[in-house]
Symmetry: C2
Subunit: 401 residues, 2 copies
């Protein structure tokens, strides 16, 4: 059974609305002329499992849908649970419980990313190419060389960088692949570069194969813009053998307020947790609460927990908290996440006053400090790149660790 | 240039936010090390065109983006105008102005639908198969026979009816195609049956061709669930030579309150008007304000106006107001829409007490009454099917016409 929890504002008859959903989003009503189909029709109806009024006057209604109403994918699921009904007045999906095998499993997940990066026992560090638009393929390659040689684990395109006339994606892939191969001679491993996959929807899988063929060893994908089904199709395609990093672009238009208080839409833990996990994302980016984005810590941690929930490590998805990540927050991040996390930084690497390589070194130095029980304060650390980073972006207050 | 208007709540520094969008959603910031790329970087920056505070304290900020920042499609457009920034706090997109040729044009639109249905001079009438799930292909075929012989112009699947084990879409297409051919002998024309297109994202175009090959002469597509790019790929595919009806399932999760007052998300006129028109939808379904859905008339009319805006009739998109459509509202609908509209009815056709054929006849009779200057009141009309419909669903108050 597929269990969906809807939240209704105070004043709405939640029991009545739940019934409308259970009937209107499934078989619908029928008359005596369909008496001969009674059994089939009834087998498609959903069931109202519980309606509970909360202390704040809102109500939560849990509705159980038959799994056989869908094609076992996220497209028909979304249409059923919040298609037409999303237009019926204030209602918000706050939880979706799917059978563990529903949808598509990631090909890599946490386990696969550790295998590919050959890093078993620490958080992974990821950079975001900056600036986002206007660089040449050669510019990207040079930036990549700096951070790859400094030991960075992963790097990604900015999500707005498409396949532009002035900067074709294939040129970037080719130039960067050469650097990945070159850096391997020094570091002994390949930095994973998540290339932004864009293009005509029916050709995305073929395009992914082309990018991989030309050297891409990871993909970035704006799953909400292109649709969850597009990500599911990539994940289900066994010929696409690289990890897929799902980007949350557009998620705010569905999720609303960062604390989940919007009366419409879908909770972030569903959008960026449950649905992403069941369409086969290997890693999911989402706003971190450490920086300036108004994202609630509780919202962030629900996403984290949903992504890492599967007991089989091959199905657990890597959380990638993003925005506002710099060496000074590493203690808090490790406290909140432990090791199974990708720390995703743009400015803190590429705007480091001593250059991108120093930006990377500052993160590794910060990790050492935190693991050694130290405090990330400018006047208490030895590494110069880290000192400079803490001066620029701030560190911990005394006693914060 | 691509002009996007964002609305910010009272208390937000709209000028500052507009600047953040203009930079952060394009090139981003850069340092002295990129001085040699200054011209290229600048060429990607957006421009704040205007910031105006409204009487209610909210502010509207208009931002102009360079067209060359996108791939000329809706995927890269959405990522640019509301990707990451959608997660940055309360902001709503209330208007998007695209160059007329941006994106993909419909293959049929209003003009093509009139050509296919051979109806030049009146609204088109569309039915929705009811009940939604649980019927056999043969059930569908029998329902179709009734309404096709009664002269109905179009019919569609319920949007939640996927390709289910118990009811494969191809079986339904084959059974219904036979009826379409059979009814043509009597009516002299083909009823258009919009079959719900579902399936794996990378195979949707191939699936569409398969359904067409087996007899489908129109498609229904949940564009927001599968993503606008998926619809654009269908519209751009010249081998898919049937009209595509875009369904608004999930739109409420992005659009919020029906009057457009939600502080997050995207206005319905953009979601179901502008974006649909530029991804090549031939017809767009959206909630009508005539029925029980809480949709604002002003919102509905903005969608209507955007869809029909193109001066070239081949690019104008057919509006399909849905929900609460029955013969009693026909006077109001004709007043609001004129002839270029598809009236989409489920219950008013399939739950007519005298059967679906009477449901269809009631609509035609109502059209005659309205055009003759009559009033849709049970005690003033002659047609029995219409009288029964007006008794069940209500008619006009005296003087309402």
């Amino acid at each position: 059974m597929i269990e969906v929890t809807y939240r209704f504002p105070a004043g709405v008859n939640a029991a009545k609305q739940a019934e409308i959903i259970a009937v209107g989003q499934t078989a619908g009503s029928w008359g005596a002329q369909f008496a001969h189909r009674e059994a089939e029709l009834r087998a498609h109806l959903a069931e109202v499992l519980a309606v509970v009024e909360q202390d704040d006057g809102t109500s939560l209604a849990r509705v159980g849908f038959p799994e056989h109403n869908t094609e076992g994918d996220i497209g028909t699921l979304l249409t059923m649970i919040f298609g037409k009904y999303s237009l019926a007045g204030p209602a918000r999906i706050v939880d979706v419980q799917l059978p563990e095998t529903y949808g598509t499993r990631p090909k890599f997940g946490i386990e696969g990313l550790r295998r590919l990066t050959r890093i078993a026992d620490r958080p992974l560090f990821m950079g975001i190419f900056k600036p986002a638009l206007g660089l040449s393929a050669q510019d990207h390659a040079e930036l990549l060389r700096d951070v790859a040689l400094a030991g960075l684990d992963l790097i990604k395109d900015d999500e707005i960088l498409g396949n532009l006339d002035g900067a074709p994606t294939l040129h970037r892939v080719r130039a960067c692949r050469a650097v990945i191969d070159e850096a391997r001679q020094t570091t002994g491993r390949d930095i994973l570069y998540a290339v932004n996959l864009t293009g005509r929807a029916d050709q995305l899988n073929a395009r992914a194969r082309e990018l991989i063929d030309k050297g891409a060893n990871a993909l970035l994908f704006n799953a909400l813009v292109y649709g969850y089904p597009a990500l599911e199709a990539l994940a289900a395609d066994q010929s696409i053998e690289v990890p897929i990093f799902a980007h949350p672009a557009l998620a705010g238009a569905l999720g609303g307020a960062a604390d989940g208080s919007s009366p419409y839409g879908i909770d972030y833990a569903v959008l960026l947790g449950t649905l992403m996990r069941h369409v086969g994302a290997d890693a999911v980016l989402y706003p971190a609460h450490y920086g300036s984005l108004p994202f609630a810590a509780a919202t962030e941690f629900r996403i984290r927990d949903v992504l890492r929930a599967p007991r089989e490590r091959s199905s657990a998805v890597m959380p990638v908290p993003s925005a506002g990540i710099h060496p000074g927050v590493l203690g808090r991040v490790l406290h909140d996440y432990g090791d199974d996390v990708v720390l995703n930084a743009g400015g803190a690497i590429f705007d480091h006053p001593q250059g991108p390589a120093a930006g990377v070194r500052a993160f590794f130095a910060a990790l050492e400090v935190v693991r050694g029980g130290g405090v990330l304060r400018e006047d208490e650390v030895n590494d110069e790149a880290l000192r400079v980073a803490l001066r620029k972006w701030g560190g911990e207050h005394r006693g914060a660790a």
